[in-house]
Amino acid sequence: MTILTAIIALLALAAVFGALLGYASEKLKVEGDPVVDQIDAILPQTQCGQCGHPGCRPYAEAIAAGEEHNKCPPGGEQTIQELSDLLGRDFLPLDEEHGEEDVKRVAYIREDECIGCTKCIQACPVDAIIGAAQKMHTVIEDECTGCDLCVEPCPVDCIDMVPVEETLESWHRERPPGVGGRPETYIPVENLA
């Protein structure tokens, strides 16, 4: 008798909740996945391809599809951290197979040596190089993402990747050394008559 009660009870429950689940799965369907946009917004948009994808957007799509989120050297640890927060994944150290984090750089064309071949213009993913065939080219520094894709195609090796220099506008005080430290520094000064 107990067994019978148990079976009946379980069956009844199964029927009721099964129906409920069926109803819910029909009514509460979720579609679309805006996470790609969110990931893309975090990626640094250098379009450098170091992640193994042709551009940041494709990599964002790949991450959303489950690829590791530690393949972006220009973004570095901060980007990995932000992606970890967004996706609820564990923080991973940067995958060195894709390169290492470096200071921000921009391309600089040594204009005397430029032969005007336009190869770098074709290579630049963000149209940050201007010039025409047989004419000298130059980099729009503000638009250069530092992807260095233009360096290799240059037949005369006249493109340098130079570190972005600090300006009076971008300079700010460093974070103090923390508990136990002094923010102070001494500098030697001469000829102060």
Binding site: R173, G180, P183, Y186, I187, P188, V189
Partner: protein, 338 residues
């Protein structure tokens, strides 16, 4: 020659954390003296021992954590922790009791959370609660007021060579709790009636009140927490005492009994674990007061400062969250995440 560089401001107010903490140490002087006068040498011995243990454990932990021992000891915070815990323990406490409490306070309640400034709970009270929960008998063995053991007896108690049973007597709070509601029995206990409140303890509390007022005068603490604390304790006590003066003790008895003043001026005011805004501090203090009254009146433990403070330590971040001031130029306080 060389120029010194550094961030603004280039001038600073006198005083540092260590100086603040030293003021707290000085302010406990009257209380310590009265405790010793009423309960004998045990308190003094225990306080000294607690401070020694606290400093030694702190130094040990700092060494293990690879920190600059001298620098971190210079803030005197661990001295205050040891001191407050020592003051809270019964004068009959054996050395190991103090050792366990202080070591736990410094290691678990302070350093496991990251050291000074990072601990969510008042370390001294965590140590006290641990001891009270683990060793209830030893922790309630107070000496009857003015029934002072000799110095050698105190030392023997401290070394664990004498049993506290021979000396211990109930405190006024304990007595009242036991006999509350029984008018006849209450009348028969003269420990309940001193000049202001319960015998002996009234002077202890008066002395801590004096020390607390000194701290207020030196602007080491703000008035908000003690005021809220005392009001939160006295008001419900007054209301219920007016309704039934046999079942409930009178407000003066609460204010000058047990660890009230020590708690109000020295323990609840620990800035690290308290609420930070003035409004928050007022609420924080008041809720501690109410909790103390509730636990004393209806709970199973004779005094309640430690539990009330620890409970409100938990609530402090929430209070801070809801008492955020309105920033200049904003219409209303922003309460985003955090």
């Amino acid at each position: 020659m060389s120029l010194i560089l550094g961030p603004a401001p280039h001038t600073m107010q006198q005083g540092d954390t260590g100086a603040f903490m030293r003021q707290v140490v000085y302010a406990t002087g009257p209380g310590l003296a009265v405790l010793t006068w009423i309960f004998g040498w045990g308190t003094l011995i225990n306080v000294l021992w607690a401070v020694i243990v606290a400093v030694a454990v702190e130094a040990l932990v700092l060494t293990m954590r690879g920190r600059d021992v001298r620098f971190f000891l210079s803030d005197w915070s661990v001295v205050v922790t040891g001191l407050l815990l020592g003051l809270s323990l019964p004068p009959t406490s054996p050395w190991w009791l103090t050792l366990v409490g202080v070591a736990f306070a410094v290691i678990v309640a302070k350093h496991l959370y990251g050291g000074l400034g990072m601990n969510p709970f008042n370390p001294a009270m965590v140590g006290y609660a641990l001891l009270l929960v683990s060793f209830p008998v030893a922790m309630t063995a107070w000496i009857a007021p003015f029934d002072v053991p000799t110095f050698s007896e105190s030392v023997a108690l401290f070394l664990g060579q004498a049993s506290p049973d021979a000396f211990s007597g109930a405190t006024p709070l304990d007595t009242f709790r036991t006999w509350a509601g029984d008018a006849q029995a209450l009348a028969g206990h003269d420990i309940l009636h001193g000049r202001i409140a319960g015998r002996g303890w009234e002077w202890v509390n008066a002395a801590f009140l004096l020390g607390g007022l000194y701290l207020l005068a030196r602007r080491i603490i703000n008035w908000h927490i003690p005021a809220g604390f005392l009001a939160g304790l006295a008001l419900p006590a007054l209301a219920f005492w007016l309704v039934d003066d046999v079942r409930y003790a009178d407000p003066l008895f609460h204010l000058f009994g047990g660890g009230t003043m020590l708690g109000a001026f020295f323990i609840a005011t620990d800035p690290v674990s308290a609420a930070t805004s003035n409004q928050g501090r007022l609420i924080y203090g008041a809720l501690i007061g109410v909790l103390i009254w509730v636990i004393r009146s209806f709970g199973g433990y004779p005094d309640a400062v430690a539990f009330a403070v620890l409970l409100m330590n938990l609530a402090a971040p929430t209070l801070d969250y809801y008492t955020r001031p309105r920033t200049y130029g904003h219409d209303k306080p922003d309460r985003g995440i955090g």
